[in-house]
Structure formats: structure tokens, C-alpha cells
Amino acid sequence: MNKSSLVVFKVILLCFIWPFISLAQNTESPIIVGANIGNVPWEFQDTTGKFVGFEIDLVNEIGLLLDRKIEIINIPFNGLFAAVQSGRVDIAISSIGITEKRLESMSFTQPYYDSDQSLTTVKGNGIESLNDLRNQIIAVDTGSTGDIWATENKQKYSFAEIRRYEGLAPAMLDVVIGRVKGYISDIPALLYYTKDKPNLVVVERIPTGGRYSLMMGKNKPLVSQANKAITSLKLAGVINDLHAKWFGALAEDTTSTVRVVPMPATDEGLILDFVDTFLNTDVFMQTYPMLIAGLVVTIQLGFIAIIAGLIFGLLFALSKLYGHKAIQVAAKAYIDIFRSIPLLVLLIIIFYALPFVGLSFSPFNAAAVALTLVSGAYTAEIFRAGIEAVPQGQFEASEALGLSYKNTMVEIILPQAIKIVIPPLTNNCINVIKDTALASVVAMPDLLKQATQAQAVAANPTPLIAAAVIYLMFLLPLVLWVSRLEVKFRRGSR
């Protein structure tokens, strides 16, 4: 992509995003904290639905000291970066490690927990250390420290593939199913998670020297205020008490849970304005190949689901219209069921539940099957409506001429039905392509997944914006084409 087209790209995007940026700052307002709820024991829901955890307690203590209310909102891990940078939240917590990359565009308080990564697996599956993972598939959280470490060390340990999940629960489910052999993630969370699950075991500590901290917008006044509060809390022993509360023992004196340490220096050289944050050329160029790889997967998946859905849809429409009684009932049941079930639910059932009855799909196949089933049901209804819209006289004229059922369909009915169904079919194609993004939940590296990973790794939301533009670039022409067709057919020949 050349320089001038990048400028155009930025200007267009600016218009899109501008209204969503909040610039207002008000010290009286509550501090909004974004947290990836479910990240035990840092932030999760207790049985009453209340948000609890080490970091929840910590921000509440800070709120008391600063005399401001704390409001927690649930945001997935890889959404936290954009949330902080856009000002949607003031503080992000979720055992976020301080990294150089993140310091380029965001600020951190002093750390309050020293952590490493870990390898977790099912007891007795033959994996005892990282070296046993040669040519095996491993699981990580999209864009996490574990993801970054695994990506850097993929060659060294010869991992066959790194599969990226949207959190601990689905990743561990796949470890249990056996589709992935191990899960690389923060050690405290996994020690906590496995302690009451005897079949799961943390087999190796991976020393990465991670230090958890509060992540905030670059050089916001709140950073130093919160940092001071943390200093006070450490000196008063409050944070170590939290450690004891959540991990069952006090932390060692040498750790950042106890000792006051300097605040990490934010990279002062870069003052990030709006354009550098959301339309960062360097980040875009770096992550461009990842996005293209994602686009290829999205297109492959969309293409397969659309073609298979068309074939399915036609067969089911014909079965429902002309099949024997039992076949009609079965076709109707299929169409009704798969139009009612949310795609996301179906995806999760196919990917995570079917293995328990011996049907295990790869992420791509699971997504293709789910999309095809749903698209087939919608397509069937579209075809049925199209066929029924062809006048009865056309069937009779064709039959009276002695044409076979197949010829009647192929030569007379379907060519007329196609014209009627092209606009709704194209709409369905657009939906299928958009729905491929849901395949992120089954660890499939589609465009959205690649973009979220890229934005977490680069600590910058530009890849998400770029993904939005890519989706637009190939869906918008389809949308416009359908509108034109609809107008044309309405004026139409009949």
C-alpha cells in the first residue's frame, strides 16, 4: 500500500471514528475499570454474581484512598487495550503484564505481582514439560503474554500450531477434550484454577518475569495518583493481605507485592494523538500480513459455507416441497430448527460438545459445518419462497409438454425462481461472511481473530480498524449490488 492511499485511508477512518471518542475528563466522575471477568482469582463472579478477586479488591482499595467511586465493567481481555486507549475505561485490570510494546502507547502504575507463565495439561497424557510438545497443538489466550511467548518460541519448541482462545474456560475445555495438548498462560491463575481439579496439572513454570500492573491511558493524571495509592497500600501491608486472602499465603519480601518499586517509565518520545492511536501506519504495516492471512481464512470459510449452504438449501427446499410425507416433515424440522438456533450456540455445541460423543472437528471444519447448517436452512426457505412464487401454470405447461420432473425444475422453474431469489440469497451470503467472525470462539484464525490478536500484541487498536475497513471493502459492494438488483427486479420484466 503506498503513502498517499494510506493518507486517504486515515482520513476516511477519522470520519468514522470521531464521534465515538470521548474527550471529556471529570475528576468527580467514578473511575471506570475494565476487567476480563472470569480470570480467576483476579476478577471473577462469585456464586451471587458479585465481581470479586484480588484485583477487584485492589482497585476498590485505591478508590477508597482517592475518594472516588469504582465502577467495574466486563470487557474481554483483548478488548481492554482499545477500551483504555479510547477512554472508554480509565483503568484496565486482568493480570496485565508490563511490556515495552505496551509502554509505547499506554501507562502503567508500579507492579503489584510478579508472575511467570506456565504449562497446564491433563494428568497422565504424556506431557511433562515443554519439550514434550514437539509437533503438538498448544492453546493460548488471544493476545496474552502467553500468546506472545508462544509465538516467539514456536520454532524453538517445534509447536505444530498455536490455537488462540477467548479465555481460560474454552481453552481448558479443549485441553480436556484432547484437541490441544497444553495451555500456556499465567501461572497464578492456573494454580488457582487447577487446585480443586485433580485431573489437571501445571507441569512447568515458564520464567518470563511478568509483572502485573494497572494499565491506563498514556500519562493520564490518574496514573500517578493510583501509583501513590499503591505505594501507600504496600506500606500498610494491605496488598500482601490480599495475597494471603486469595493465594492462601503471604508473598515473599522480595516481590513487588511487598516492595515499593518505581513506576515504569512511559515511552516519552512518542506522544500518541488520535491518528497514531487508531490509524498507526507502522502498526498497520507490521500487522498487515496477519490480517491478510485472516482474510484468506475468512474468505475460504465463507466460500465453502455459501456453496455448501446453497446445495443444502436447494435439496431441503425441494424435499420440503415435493418429498414424500416423511421427508417433508424432516426437511421442515431441519429448516425450522436451524433457523431458530443462534449460530454462536451451534458453533459451541459442535466444537466443544460433540467431541464428548466422539465427533471431533478442527476449528475450521467446526465453523464450516455450523455455518453451512444455518446457511442451508435460510437458503432453503429462500428457495422455497422463490419456487412458490413461480405461477402454477408454469408447472402445468411444462408437465403437459411431457417434460420430466428434473427438466421441469432445471429448465423452467429454477431459472425463474433464481431471479426472484438472487437478492435474498446475496443478503444471506453477506450474513454468512459476517458470521464467519463468530468462529473466533472456536479458536479459528479468521480476520477478526487475527485483528484482535494483532491489536493485543501491538498494544494498538489500528488492526481492528483495518479489519473493519477490509470487511467493508468486500461487503459494501455486495450490499450495493443487492440494492441495485432489488430496484431492477421491482421495475422488472413481469
Binding site: 408454469q394 408437465e399 409438454l401 413481469r494
Partner: protein, 245 residues
């Protein structure tokens, strides 16, 4: 000479409603039969049973050219022998006039495209539509469309033709051109059953006129017998109504 089309005891129910009641009818090869009668009397149902667009009750029998008309692999032979022309033309709107006529010979008879085209051109010429061969049905007038529909039926070289009120959907000024085509056909020796409200036409072309009412054949005979000396009261009343109209 045996009958080309033979109906024996044909009854037809739509659910519990009896649309045809014990119809017996023989139509000889080359015969032109016109069917008249009030609306709802079962005229359409009668001819639609002959090519099994409607299924008739199992108690009866229809035989066309020695073949029993029923579902199954013989049905396509029956339909190849019996062409049909509909009140609403039912041309295929996505095909040109020429393709409308060529389709069945190619798909149902397995003729080559060249042979089928030759047949189609001949027939379109005969019904006077050859100049419009490359147009689509929607571009033609009703009368022209119905003439194409006749050519389309003839392209299968059927032994018999069934017409279901072929001029009822036409503007009055176009009725003549279609009736002229049918009159010409009548002289070529093709067997025809024509449901019609055009009494003058029936009088002129029919070898035999059948009057139907309430799903039954009430009376039949030569045009002179039916139109000049109808025996049944129902026939008399019907004719009085339509001729004074």
C-alpha cells in the same frame, strides 16, 4: 375405427365435492369435439384428466392411444401424444419465443437443436409469428402469445390437442386471429377437444358438440343437433342464455 381417446366411467372428486360424475366418452382419431357448458360444470376438469394434470378416481379409466392414463413411466408417452393449450397461455417467460417452441422436442423427445429449430421455425411461420421468434413472451400481445402456445404444443407432433377456453383471456379484437389458427388446424386431421364459449366457432368446426352441466355430459350430437334442436331442457336454457347475451 377405435377411439384415440376413451373415457370409461370417469369420476373425479375434489375432497368430497364431485366435479365429474361417471363420464363416458370416445373421441375418434381426427375428430373435433367442442365442449360447452356453464362455468363450474367440469369442462376444464374433464380435459385436465386426459393428460393427468388432475388425477381421476380409481373407479374410472382413461385410455389414450391404447395407453392407460395413470402415474408412472407411461405417462410421458401419453403427454407426448396429447398437447394442451391453456386459457392463460403459460408461455415460459425466461425463454425466447423460438426457445419456448424448441424446448420440449429437445428435452422430452431428444431431438437435436437443429432439428428442433427447423420444426419450431416451420410452426411459428404457420401461426404467423416467425418475425417475433427472438422476442420474449412479455413483448407479445395476448393473441400472439396464444398462437405461440399452440405452436409450442404442436412441436411435439401430438396426435391430439386439448384446448381449455383458448380465447377467454383475450381482448375481443384478438379472438379472431387465434380461432383462425385453430380452424386451420381442424382441417389438418389432428384430433381436438376444445372447451369454448365461442358458439359460432363451435358450430363451424365441431364434428361433435358436448354439453356439460354439474359434472355430467347432459347431451351430445352434431352442431346442428345441439344448436338447432337441443333435446334437454338444461341445454336449451344454457343456449338461450348465451345466445341472447
Amino acid at each position: 375405427m377405435t377411439a384415440l381417446i376413451k373415457l370409461e366411467n370417469v369420476t373425479k372428486h375434489y375432497g368430497t365435492f364431485q366435479a365429474l360424475s361417471k363420464i363416458n366418452l370416445d373421441v375418434k382419431e381426427g375428430e373435433v369435439v367442442c365442449v360447452i357448458g356453464p362455468s363450474g360444470s367440469g369442462k376444464s376438469t374433464l380435459i385436465r384428466c386426459i393428460n393427468l394434470l388432475e388425477e381421476y378416481d380409481l373407479s374410472g379409466k382413461i385410455i389414450v392411444d391404447q395407453i392407460l392414463v395413470q402415474k408412472g413411466k407411461n405417462l410421458k408417452n401419453v403427454r407426448a401424444q396429447v398437447g394442451m393449450v391453456f386459457q392463460s397461455f403459460n408461455l415460459f417467460p425466461h425463454l425466447t419465443i423460438l426457445k419456448n417452441v424448441m424446448l420440449a422436442p429437445i428435452k422430452a423427445k431428444g431431438l437435436s437443436a437443429q432439428v428442433a429449430e427447423k420444426i419450431a421455425v416451420d410452426l411459428l411461420n404457420k401461426v404467423g409469428i416467425l418475425e417475433q421468434a427472438e422476442k420474449y413472451p412479455a413483448q407479445l400481445s395476448g393473441g400472439q402469445q396464444q398462437r405461440v402456445a399452440i405452436a409450442r404444443a404442436l412441436a411435439m407432433e401430438p396426435k391430439a390437442l386439448l384446448f381449455d377456453e383458448p380465447t377467454s383471456a383475450l381482448d375481443p379484437e384478438m379472438v379472431g386471429e387465434v380461432l383462425d389458427v385453430i380452424k386451420n388446424l381442424a382441417t389438418t386431421g389432428v384430433t381436438m377437444i376444445v372447451v369454448t364459449h365461442e358458439m359460432g366457432f363451435a358450430k363451424q368446426v365441431a364434428d361433435r358438440v358436448i354439453f356439460m352441466d354439474a359434472g355430467q355430459i347432459v347431451e351430445q350430437g352434431s352442431p346442428i343437433e345441439i344448436f338447432n334442436t337441443p333435446k334437454e331442457v338444461r341445454t336449451q336454457n344454457f343456449l338461450k342464455a348465451v345466445l341472447n347475451h
